[in-house]
Symmetry: C2
Subunit: 316 residues, 2 copies
Amino acid sequence: MRITVLAGGVGAARFLRGLRAAVPDADITVIGNTGDDFTPFGLHVSPDLDTVMYTLGGGISEEQGWGRAGESHVVLGELAAYGAGPDWFGLGDLDLATHILRTQLLLAGRSLSEVTAALCQRWQPGVTLLPMSDDPVRTHVTVDLDGREQVLHFQEWWVRLHAAVPASRIEPVGAARARPAPGVLEAIAAADFVLFPPSNPVVSIGVILAVPGIAEAVRAKTVVGVSPIIGGAPVRGMADACLTAIGVATSATAVAAHYGPDLLDGWLVDTQDKDAADAPELAGIAIQARPLYMTSVAAAAQIAQAAVELAGQVRR
Amino acid sequence: MRITVLAGGVGAARFLRGLRAAVPDADITVIGNTGDDFTPFGLHVSPDLDTVMYTLGGGISEEQGWGRAGESHVVLGELAAYGAGPDWFGLGDLDLATHILRTQLLLAGRSLSEVTAALCQRWQPGVTLLPMSDDPVRTHVTVDLDGREQVLHFQEWWVRLHAAVPASRIEPVGAARARPAPGVLEAIAAADFVLFPPSNPVVSIGVILAVPGIAEAVRAKTVVGVSPIIGGAPVRGMADACLTAIGVATSATAVAAHYGPDLLDGWLVDTQDKDAADAPELAGIAIQARPLYMTSVAAAAQIAQAAVELAGQVRR
């Protein structure tokens, strides 16, 4: 079985760990969002790729959901002693090694795909992890700050401001001219079906779909998604702030309607959102309600199993 | 009093700490060797500049003579886990912060002089620290390794091979087209005298003097040097291997003769090398013998004081 998954960070990583457990023999390709990438201290950080890689490779901090287990922060403290910022992004020493190596390889002329493959040589995530594009895409967020409109890098809004300042616009800068990374369109075309894990529909899945060619390729396939919204609130993170910025309500129904029946064939919602099955705007999408909280790897595996089964049922 | 000092690493740094103590009101400019600079993991390391900065700024590891006190090695261990090298250069976490920041500022278009000044803002070394040049100079060493001639970066020969493989050639690549950094020629011209601390005559002082314009400027001034060779052996490091490569004997006399009376006006040798005063090849150089082991800051201050006094006596 070949499965291709579009992935953001923590939610995707935990779902993927479940998927790998649920269908251990499946050939899984993960297309990761790189719109969150940024370069603190000139070091190339790919938060979503790393969260997937560390989680599947056994190096993740389970408490945080991102970053490394057993982490220390000597270098960041020292950079702060120099007065160098940013000081709001928790770059640990173990994690920094990944960014130092990635930056070195990129500066030596390697592509982000090649670098990702090189890093995965060590972590052995058990999936093929591809960045959505080797071209730079940076998600920018327009906010009203201190009485004037300002454009921030996504990370500054998300991590420094905790997305507490309303966004009037979210734009994946560079996406329009970005090309899918080598293997991305091929992996989608070759897949038996495509899964959307419970990732942010705007800044994760939405940004991946903004790379020309990817949405078209996905639309040609059977697609099953797992709602990142349960009971009107994001399970994790601040997806509500992103949905509000693009005029979509924070509900499992509204997110599925945002993707639309043209893209989505099946949609897993939490038991408490089972009314979605009756929503007229979701006609054409097979809705299935079940517990969606990924409280353990076993729970995530059951959710992934349900997504795989739903894909089998709705397969075009 | 204005003093300009050409500096290598550990010996220079300890001498400078003594000089600052001996003449606290002097205006001291240090011109640091950058031929040892290298870029492990794509990070710009300036070993000699850092050794001077950390030593005078109170951050040095006294045991090592280089690197930071209280150092840890989390990042380097993690890079090794990725199979990334070099693993023979002891880059600590505290130290890495300096290199990360330097690299970031250089990539942002700052010059090495500007970056050095920015880093010294924190360390307050009490001297003006200038790189010899903002242009890249890299000391290469030709050795016979595994039966064939190979050209290595100085650091690989010095640190990885402990200079145990004889060098047939030592070349400061790029020096011929390098320009003295802003302020270098001015500091030499404005100095009451120039001091050579007990630094390596070949790969430290020699490389600085290889930058066009610097040797000429120094030659116009009163110059007093402190012998890095005591009793026929380097006080520290493997200067003998460098001297052998350029056909100079490892003795206080031979090093002074190598600089020559055209450059050197005064030369401090250790008591056990007092015969240098009778060497005919040193005619024209005022030789003074005294204990030269820098066993403490106080001892280094006495040596520095002696160098300052000798400069006063031989002043042109």
